[in-house]
């Protein structure tokens, strides 16, 4: 895959990938597609539990997390993820349409991004979080 015009690092450069956790198929696919185009190693999960399953065997640099999801929601996922010590070094980007996104400090996010978001801003944010993880 070609390096992006915004200069985001290749997955192979930083050794980390991106996990996209969102129950909305269209948004999840969009985000995965855009980040894949930028050269990131992207994996996806449609809910909290399947995200935990992915993390059992893979430690990404960044987790992009939706909050309001059926079943295990974003808050519950984060609690379990930290309690289980899965991908402990990964940066968290909370991405949600909920107004409660501003009350998500207890999730210890590295960044928050309210929906709807600007695609280029998302790519830049993920890029810098991924770099920070690699450094």
């Amino acid at each position: 895959m070609a390096a992006s015009s915004s200069g985001a690092p290749q997955a192979s450069d930083c050794g980390g990938g991106i996990l996209v956790v969102d129950d909305d198929d269209a948004i999840r696919l969009l985000v995965c597609d855009a980040l894949t185009d930028e050269g990131f190693d992207v994996r996806e999960a449609g809910g909290g539990q399947s995200a935990l399953d992915v993390l059992e065997s893979w430690s990404p640099a960044v987790i992009i997390l939706d909050l309001m999801m059926p079943g295990m929601d974003g808050w519950h996922f984060r609690e379990r993820q930290l309690a289980l010590g899965l991908a402990a070094g990964a940066r968290l980007l909370v991405m949600s349409a909920s107004h409660r996104i501003h009350e998500s400090s207890d999730l210890k996010p590295s960044a928050i991004m309210p929906k709807p978001f600007d695609l280029s801003r998302l790519i830049d944010t993920v890029g810098s979080l991924s770099e920070a993880h690699g450094s």
């Binding site: 015009s5 269209a26 969009l30 855009a34 309001m68 929906k115 709807p116 998302l122």
Partner: protein, 352 residues
Amino acid sequence: MNLVRPSRASPSPAEAQACFTGRTNRFQDGFTLALLTEVHGYPAVPAVDPQRLAAVAHSVEFYADDAHLLNNLTHFVRDALLNGQSVVVVATEAHRTELALRLEESALPVGSWERLHRYIAVDAEETLRLVSRAGMPHEERFRSIVGVLLDEARDAASDPALPVAVFGEMVVLLQAAGKTKETVALERLWNALAESHSFILRCAYPLSLFPSAGDGDALQEICGEHSTVIPTQSYAGLTEDSERLRAIAILEQKALALETALENSSRLLVQEQAARTLAQTALESRDEFFDVAAHELKTPITILKAGTQLLQKKLRQGRLDQAQLEERLAALDQATDSLTAIVNDVLRACAT
């Protein structure tokens, strides 16, 4: 000179004399006396049979202010002294001091009567401590200590056949501490003592000790241990039967009005709480509604915005084929449909 006589219960005359020698502090060694009469266990104090209680001159007064109590008490003591009886006062320091002042004003110098042992005043708190064991009035201790006082007073009277006039406030201290069970027990000990001693006993409770409807039971229980109940001054001062009946009617009306007011305020409180809960639920569901509505609205908007931007980006980079383009446009179209459906739902919800 020592005029103290032993009570019919233990201790021996010598022991009692040894204990009751101080004039300023009558009970300076009273605790020793109490120990001499110690009995293990806590026998329940039985109530005096109601028919026999009627024969015990044991009255209780409920008063609204101290001045009224002291006025009545002064009359009680003065009448007794002038009648040749002896007087025993078991009262708080404040009441003893004030009573002595009022008796002096009535040309009855307390000091002289004390020297004759016709007037014996002791501290209610100290006496209560001595007649109690583990916080409960103790029959043997009570009989010994109070019995000795009554005997001493009786023997000093002009005619020992005359009953000793007693004013007691130990029960008030117990009731003020919320110990109704102990209060009633002590009242019963007085009633039981009437079997072996001749006295007329006056108790007086401030009405403020029974401020709420829930105190009615305690008041009734206390009244049950007395042969005569004297209500507060506003009623007790009435002499004509017709006046008393009128006063009773007014008091009954007041009680009814208070009960009604209480019921009304309880009902209002319940209504207010229900309204508050409803408002709280409405607020919470409104918050929830907004959160869900925001989420539902912003999700398709996110797809539209980010999807359009991704298409533009892919077009610029020349990495978009026909199939991909159609797929992306279909997703955007679907997002528009879902947005339209949500807007319609919200508008419908607002209209109802």
